[in-house]
Symmetry: C2
Subunit: 353 residues, 2 copies
């Protein structure tokens, strides 16, 4: 029987609850499709600080690198926000991304027909939106050196080298080949040298993908266009901090924030996680929406394990569950027939699978 | 009679057409309120390149510094996009901002009731939105050094010093005192040292403004919240590039992009301009919307010349003109009774003034 090693990081806040539901659903799909998943749990974020004193224990790094893929919940919370920078959950997350070498963060922004009213944008503007945002994840100003804060003057460095741009560009072009064959590269080349190199490199790279249409957009305009006419985009590729901002904008544009997954991939391993945060304010109340994590688990099956059929099964089940009017509390306002708690939502998806 | 020196920069694309209409309206208001405006025209951007060989002639710098305020159209166009960086219109604009010392860029995002349907957001989400975005304009990554692109590696520096943060912070707090007394400072302090200094400095400064409530938001979340619930904001204060992105998002959220003005102020002079660009594709066709420039002219009367009454007069006239159904082509879809060309729109506002 096909057999996979999955590392699990539940994290903080609602992390544990939502990951538990995803595991339930993964197990059901694995059984149905005749493969086996072996989970091993690792610590990261606030819970790792509380348990081991550091946000990213070495055991987690080694364990995840040694697995076929990692399913991740969410980390962070006010409790740890006042710790020195090197001990904060976010610092652990950034170090984790770097150590895993996951340079490409894929954030699909799609519409679920049943939830079209959950967006603050008009239905006619967003119906049919299907954007893939490809964000560079382990470079740019997040990791650039020198960086310093002496209390009077502080600075960070936004830096990219050509190989870094080429590899994320390739990811974007390859994805576009399987989609609508359009890549929009977002930068601020009218002001920044680093963006000029980004743009020149994308132009060069595009010669290897004659079927794909490459366009360029300044980041301020891209932020506008996502609100004005999100349907114009197929694949968007951009640097770390621009991608951070634009992917959050896009998730709000489509309104399905509780359903959007993400994949962080590289040459060594891949991490799958919901795009939403750890929501400490509702942790433990049984009202968290596990769907984004379950969709992330489906993405993991498809991209890291090549278990297409199982992935389809989960995605179809989610669509049916939504069509049949099952909702978690956050979505109760959108044509709910029955409002379920976190665990009951997991159960009903298992049933459909 | 009160007498003011106004420097005029028409710029490229639709710049000349829209500035001409604003001058018409300014003259009408001045006559009505018994003061005199003396205009002197200066070159900048593409037209300056074509005429003098550089995007920002020294004469423009000296002339504007020597005036009471500057009314500015828009610059740039594809024609000049392939020039070396130091000769591009944008480079002239950035140098201009720096030379003028205009560190505070104020971008109000407000709703005109008549145009509520022009937004892609639902009317109930945006009705009543009234945000003042205060963007730092002559620091941060736009001007930070070192900056370099050697064709293999490229970088820019995002840098702020405490005095730079204090002075823009003061602008925001002072504005908030005249508004709803809430300042939201936007940064990325969970990742960037420069943002940590920004946040710490805002916290310190807020002690001088006990009546104002200061909150902090990460830039990715702010981009989301502008789409999710723009009404939550009063004054937003942020750095140069975050402000570039967020103010464009906000203008699209309220949908009145053709009507939004901006003011760039500092200790030496102030520049007033529409937030939209030079739109070379429609230049000379007589369909450009002059309203944002006319509102900018009203802002100039209010903030630089203290001619409150004249400013009110213009703003009231614009509201009446919109209420009475006069529209330019870009707004023809929103309850138009009569669609006017650029110059006829200027004329009708003059009539109302
Ligand atoms: C928590 C934070 C460091 C992180 C980021 O900025 O990358 C988050 O916003 C994200 O997008 O995953
Ligand atoms: C043209 C460009 C350099 C400029 C900027 O980024 O500041 C523009 O986008 C703006 O916001 O005024």
């Amino acid at each position: 029987m096909r057999n996979y090693k999955i590392s699990i990081i539940k994290g903080d806040g609602i992390g544990p609850e939502i990951v538990d539901e995803a595991i339930k659903v993964l197990n059901a799909a694995a059984k149905k499709c005749n493969f086996e998943l072996n989970y091993k749990e690792y610590l990261m974020g606030g819970i790792a600080i509380d348990t081991t004193g550091v946000p990213l224990p070495q055991e987690t790094v080694d364990g995840v690198l040694n697995s076929d893929a990692c399913l991740f919940g969410a980390i962070g919370g006010e409790k740890w926000d006042t710790l020195p920078r090197e001990l904060r959950p976010e610092t652990g997350l950034l170090k984790f991304r770097e150590e895993m070498g996951v340079y490409a963060n894929l954030r699909p922004a799609i519409i679920y027909d049943e939830l079209v009213n959950a967006s603050t944008l008009k239905p006619e503007v967003i119906t049919g939106v299907d954007i893939m945002i490809v964000r560079e994840l382990i470079g740019g100003i997040y990791f650039g050196k020198p960086r310093e804060n002496d209390g009077f003057k502080a600075f960070n460095t936004m830096v990219y080298t050509k190989p870094e741009i080429v590899r994320i560009g390739k990811t974007a072009f390859e994805l576009a080949m399987k989609r609508d064959k359009r890549v929009c590269s977002v930068d601020k080349a009218n002001v920044l040298e680093v963006s000029q190199l980004w743009r020149d490199t994308m132009n060069e790279l595009s010669k290897d993908y004659p079927e794909v249409t490459l366009s360029h957009m300044y980041v301020d305009n891209a932020a506008m266009q996502l609100v004005r006419n999100p349907k114009q985009f197929d694949v968007i590729v951009t640097g770390n901090i621009f991608g951070d901002i634009l992917s959050d904008t896009a998730s709000m544009v489509v309104g399905s924030i509780g359903l959007l997954p993400s994949a962080s991939t590289g040459d060594k391993t891949a991490i799958y996680e919901p795009i939403h945060g750890s929501a400490p304010d509702i942790a433990g109340m049984g009202i968290a929406n596990p769907l984004a994590t379950i969709v992330s688990a489906a993405m993991m099956l498809r991209y890291s394990l090549n278990e297409e059929k199982a992935a389809d099964l989960i995605e179809e089940s989610i669509k049916s569950v939504l069509k049949d009017g099952y909702r978690t509390k956050d979505l109760a306002a959108y044509d709910a027939k029955e409002v379920l708690n976190t665990s009951a939502m997991g159960d009903v998806i298992v049933k459909y699978v």
